[in-house]
Structure formats: structure tokens, C-alpha cells
Amino acid sequence: MPVEAPNPDATPQPVSSDTPRVSPEVSLWELVFFFGLIGLTSFGGGLTAYIRRLAVTQKGWLTDEEFFSALAIVQILPGARVVGISIYIGNHLRGLLGAALALLSIMTPPFLLVCFLGLLYFHYGENSDSKALLAGVTAVACGLMASMVFEAGQKSIRGVFDVVMIIVTFLLVRLGHMHVQYVILLLAPIAIWWHRPRHEIKGDDLNQKGSPP
């Protein structure tokens, strides 16, 4: 089960260890093309499953276990999940250069598209046609945000404490106008302490759970 740390140079070592896994040879061009395509087609999110299907199932670039290990890292770190996964895969396959190229290729297509739309907006945003059009766009954007609240709430609420944390966070930001970084610095230690591993009670249960699905 040892999941290899991002260290693509480890392959030349003989297969004597317990993992017979060989990091596949992936050219940098292939990486650029792969993540560029994902960046191009990353409409509307929901990409994690898509990346897994392509990189794990189709290309065999990493095992399922490695993928979920990466996902577990990315989920507790700040930043967009898709970007984190891409960097992890890039680094896993081709080291630092691979990570940099993965980041660059996944970001370039949406960057260009969004810049283009932004310039269109500032050029034509004031006329009544685009105002009407944007009313619909922002209304849907609001619906999407609301759905994210539901999804995040469903995943995070497992007790009264979680509900209290949601409300306190909301009030600090909404009424206290506190910035995100300070909210996190203030609340994260409290919440982590609250959810601290309790060895004496159920340490064994936690250990048995192991890695996420």
C-alpha cells in the first residue's frame, strides 16, 4: 500500500520493493495537451471525477489510491481543488516542471476566455441589451451559489457544534465584516481542537477508517 511520494525519479530502482508499480513515461507535451484540454472544457466545474476518469482509468498515470490520496491533500488545503489535483499529477509524473506545466496549461484557456468576456463586458456592459442578458446570468450565478451552500452544509453538518460554527462564521463575515484570513485564524484552531482525535475513546475506530474511499 505505500503510496509513492511525488518522486518520479524513483523508477530506475529495481522492482525489488513491495510495489511493482512503474511510473509511466509521459512526455511534457502530453501533459500540456492533457491539462490544456481540461482547462478548455472545464465549463461549470465538477471536474474532479472527470480528471480521475481520464488520468486513472484511461491513461493509467496514477493508481486510484494515489488519486484519492492527492484528493485528500487538496481537500484540506486552500485553493481550487481541480488546480491542486492537476499540480499533484504533474509533479507525480514529471516533477516540478510537470507541476508548473500542468498549472500553466489548465489555467491558460479559461484565463483567455474570461479575459475576453471581461473586455466585452467593459466595452458593451452599459447598453441595455447586455444589461438584460447579465440579469439572467447573475440570477443563475446566485442560484449556483445557493446550491453550493446546500451541498457544503450537507457535507459539513454532523452535530450542533458544526451548525454553531457555520452561524458564527457567517455573522463574523456578514455583520462583523471580518476578512476571511482572520476568520480562519480565529475559528480554525477552536474547531480543530473541538474535533481533535480522542484516542482514549475511539482512537481505534479512527485508525481503522484509514484513507477516504
Binding site: 485553493g79 489555467m107 471581461g118 453538518i157 476571511v180 480562519i184 477508517k209
Partner: protein
């Protein structure tokens, strides 16, 4: 101009490492800074740009557009440079963090603290997303038709697997047709 770049870098580097739970959680702070503190744009423009940005790419492409608008007064070329600076400042620090943590992950993965951190951070990001949703709602739902469209989008997101981009394009067409 250099000063604007400096503000963008300082702001987005902090937001980058604060975005626990994805880019959406930094929206309230981003709105406050971009609108109230630096006066780069109005609230309406901020929400419009957010709507535009979710069409493609990872969450938080709105930072690209904030960078664009912040530098727009200096011309289109500088504006795109500003967009680039903002995007790099937002995505680089968190990416470096992934690499660093990824390196030491194996020894750390089995630690029960991993689950503690995950469970602790999720309600905080939920609260932040809730606050973000309020900001977007206040500047996007002003009339009954927009409220209906927002509600329909919410239901479609919750109960179907419809791609949100299709909804955005459809809503743009519908509202252009009816609200023009």
C-alpha cells in the same frame, strides 16, 4: 499603476492561502476590498463579473476579472497584465502549498489529525459560502423574474445533473428576450 499591481499581489496572495474549501469562500473579502476599499468597481460590476467568471475554469476566475478591472484605467494591455498578475498571485501560493504538503504527505496521511482538520474546516467554509451567497443575491435578485430564474437554477442544480454553463447561456438568452 505599479501601486495597483502591488495591491493586487498583496490581496490575492493572502486570499490564495485563505481559500479553504475553494475559491468561493474568499468572495466576501474580495468584494469588500475591490468595491469598498480600493474602489476598483461597483457592487453591480462585481456581481456581473462573478457571473461571467463562472462560465469556465476553476472556481474563482473572478480574480482574473478583478485584476482586469483594477488596471482597466491604464488601457487594455495593462488591464490584461493586471489580470495576469492577479491570477498568478491567486493560484501560485496555494499551488506551492500543494507541492510542499504533497512531499511530506505519506508520513502524515495516517494521522488522525487529518480528519480533525477536515471536519473543522468544512463548517467554516460553509459559513463563508453562505456569506458569499448573500452578497451575490443582494445584487442579482432585484426583480421577480430574476428571483424566479435564481430559484429555478437552484432547483436544477440540486435535483439534476445539468451542466451549469447550459443554464447560464439559457438564462442569458431568456432574460435578454424578456427583460430587454
Amino acid at each position: 499603476m505599479i501601486q495597483t499591481f502591488g495591491h493586487l499581489v498583496a490581496l490575492f496572495m493572502i486570499l490564495s492561502i485563505s481559500a479553504f474549501g475553494g475559491g468561493k469562500v474568499v468572495l466576501p473579502t474580495l468584494q469588500h476590498q475591490a468595491v469598498d476599499k480600493f474602489h476598483w468597481m461597483t457592487n453591480q460590476q462585481f456581481v456581473d463579473l462573478f457571473g461571467i467568471s463562472i462560465i469556465d475554469g476553476p472556481s474563482m476566475m473572478v480574480v482574473t476579472l478583478v485584476g482586469l478591472k483594477a488596471c482597466l484605467q491604464y488601457g487594455y494591455v495593462i488591464a490584461i497584465l493586471g489580470a495576469l498578475v492577479a491570477t498568478i498571485a491567486m493560484f501560485l501560493p496555494s499551488s506551492i502549498l500543494v507541492l510542499i504538503v504533497g512531499r511530506y504527505w505519506d508520513s502524515w496521511k495516517t494521522s488522525p489529525w487529518h480528519e480533525s482538520i477536515q471536519r473543522a474546516m468544512m463548517p467554516i467554509s460553509t459559513g463563508l459560502i453562505l456569506a458569499a451567497a448573500f452578497i451575490i443575491a443582494r445584487h442579482s435578485i432585484h426583480t421577480i423574474p430574476t428571483a424566479i430564474m435564481g430559484l429555478i437554477a437552484l432547483c436544477l442544480m440540486l435535483f439534476t445533473k445539468l451542466n451549469p454553463v447550459i443554464m447560464i447561456i439559457a438564462a442569458a438568452a431568456i432574460s435578454w428576450f424578456f427583460l430587454r
